[in-house]
């Protein structure tokens, strides 16, 4: 308790004595508390706690939230070798709250509450620390069922953690995984399938975080979720070697505030092809190695016209066709590529602009030119005639 007037800390009691007459004049004085070796369960003195072969089951009927099979709080250098938690009605399989530098080998969660949680400490009246530099080797989170409020994996207010060999399957949760307010998290996924996040949530949501790296090689397959991976207000998120499959309507989406991320060797194998909104993300290897049979433009289409009116718009965000309904002169159409909206529609911002071309397929002799290009929009213009059908496409650069 770090107020400057502390005179005595009772080593065996609970009272801190302050010099007479000094503190009471500061009724709202700020006290600074430091976590020392004696406050937490750590390596000094002695060593961490070791546990092996943990096997805890519930009765599947527990309807009390906020409990866990195992909680470690303000603990350092915990070592758990093999832990499985099954058949719990609610609650959490394993939670670390302000737990540092711990290692867990072989975690298996099959519970209806939450799977694995890494968060700040909740006791002690003060936030001492998040759960930092913890390592998990081999994590199965399976068959959890809590679509109202359950999450398979939560990493929040923590940093520098490492998960290797994450297997997430058959869960029905509000979110399958949420990584929020964190930095430098590294998660290697070996299998992600048959999960259902409560609509319209993303299965894997990364919010207000930086340097989150998600690695495969893995499939990332939807069961009945609408949305795959959503990144919101985060920077330097890397998704590497994912094959996204299943029935998502949006496979990946970077939402407001996200930037400077990277998709590397991410293959969109969804059917029908799900939207990939990648604003602010560098897509590596798509250009060189992504070789689909066809590229189909999907997503909402936003066109506005001047000098004419248009109708019969079909196609997707960056390619389609329209018909000229009326003209009053040169017809100019502004194209604003839009990702499939789960949030309010947001324009895709290309790094520099859009290269577009358009053709009058009713009167091919009519030339339509691109007359504008900025990161958010492009314009095409020509002396099109009423009832002409125009096809167009744009590629961001």
């Amino acid at each position: 308790m770090g107020y400057a007037n502390v005179e005595l800390v009772d080593p065996t009691g609970t009272t801190i004595t302050v010099k007479t007459g000094s503190l009471p004049t500061y009724a709202s004085a700020t006290a600074t508390v430091f976590m020392g070796a004696a406050n937490g369960l750590g390596t000094y003195p002695g060593q961490g706690v070791y546990m092996s072969g943990v096997n805890i089951s519930g009765n599947a009927l527990e309807m009390i939230n906020g409990y866990s099979a195992i909680t470690a709080e303000l603990t350092e250098a915990l070592f758990i070798d093999s832990i499985q938690v099954t058949n719990m009605g609610l609650g959490t399989c394993l939670q670390f709250l302000g737990t540092l530098k711990s290692n867990v080998y072989g975690l298996h969660c099959n519970v209806d509450g939450n799977g694995l949680i890494l968060e700040e400490n909740s006791i002690g009246s003060f936030i001492f620390t998040g759960s930092n530099a913890d390592r998990f080797y081999g994590v199965d989170i399976e068959n959890g069922n809590n679509p109202t409020s359950g999450v398979g994996l939560i990493i929040g207010h923590s940093g520098g953690d490492y998960v290797s060999g994450l297997h997430m399957e058959g869960n029905s949760y509000e979110y399958i995984a949420v990584i929020g307010y964190t930095g430098s998290e590294d998660i290697q996924i070996v299998d992600w399938e048959a999960n259902t996040a409560t609509s319209p949530n993303y299965e894997l949501s990364i919010i207000y975080s930086s340097d989150v790296h998600l690695h495969g090689p893995t499939q990332f397959e939807s069961s009945s979720s609408s949305n795959g991976i959503g990144v919101n207000n985060s920077t330097d998120v890397v998704v590497d070697q994912f094959s996204i499959t299943g029935n998502y309507s949006t496979a990946f989406n970077s939402i407001a505030g996200s930037s400077t991320g990277k998709l590397d060797r991410v293959i969109n194998n969804t059917s029908p092809l799900a939207a990939m909104g990648t604003a602010g993300f560098i897509i590596e290897d798509f250009a060189g190695n992504f070789t689909p049979n066809n590229i189909i433009s999907t997503g909402a289409q936003t066109l506005s016209a001047s000098g004419c009116t248009i109708s019969g718009q079909v196609g997707g965000s960056s390619a389609g066709s329209f018909r000229v309904a009326t003209t009053t002169g040169t017809c100019t159409v502004t194209i604003t590529p839009i990702v499939t909206p789960l949030m309010p529609p947001l324009p895709v911002t290309a790094p520099n602009g859009w290269a577009c071309d358009a053709h009058d397929i009713t009167n091919p002799a009519i030339v339509i030119s691109q007359t504008g290009s900025v990161p958010a929009t492009a314009t095409i213009s020509g002396s099109m005639l009423v009832s002409d059908t125009i096809t167009w496409k744009c590629i961001g650069f």
Binding site: V49, M51, N55
Partner: protein
């Protein structure tokens, strides 16, 4: 020569005695203490947790660090308390019910302790929000009171002297 015969006779007698001793070895030996190993089953207590704690007290009386072994199945309603350096091991074929309470949870609150659960089946049913089958940490919930007297008092929370309890 007489001395030699005496030595031979003594050796022969000793061999016969050892043979008789070996023939009387029991197939099962039930002991409470085996050096630094304590068998919790043999100590008094209303439940397995209490028996574990009784075994710990026995070790502390001898000023040694122990491995506490639990062989039988049963209920753990008294929170086991392992001091630093102690180990606890359960029977892999055992079945255990954790029925500690919200007020007295199973706290693992001392460093350098080892728990070998050995995949034995533990069942747990919480009764209150915030319950944990096992809580690792000090579990201190201090509430600080700044009074008009020259002191700051933690109204609730553990006594600091309990932290990192060692073998005494």
């Amino acid at each position: 020569m007489k001395l030699f015969k005496l030595v031979v006779l003594l050796l022969a007698f000793s061999a016969v005695a050892n043979a008789q001793s070996l023939s009387s070895v029991q197939s099962h030996i039930q002991v409470q203490n085996l050096n630094s190993v304590r068998i919790a089953d043999s100590f008094p207590g209303a439940d397995i947790g209490a028996q574990i704690n009784a075994a710990v007290v026995d070790c502390q009386a001898d000023h040694i660090v122990c491995m506490i072994q639990v062989n039988k199945s049963g209920t753990i309603s008294t929170p086991p308390e392992l001091p630093q350096g102690f180990s606890l091991s359960f029977n892999p074929e055992g079945q255990y019910v954790i029925s500690t309470t919200h007020a007295h949870p199973w706290l693992i609150d001392h460093s350098a302790t080892s728990f070998y659960f050995n995949n034995a089946a533990f069942s747990y049913t919480p009764v209150d929000t915030g319950d944990n089958a096992i809580y690792i940490g000090k579990g201190i919930h201090p509430t600080v009171s700044v009074s008009t007297t020259p002191s700051i008092t933690t109204v609730t929370g553990a006594n600091r002297s309990l932290l990192n309890r060692r073998c005494r």
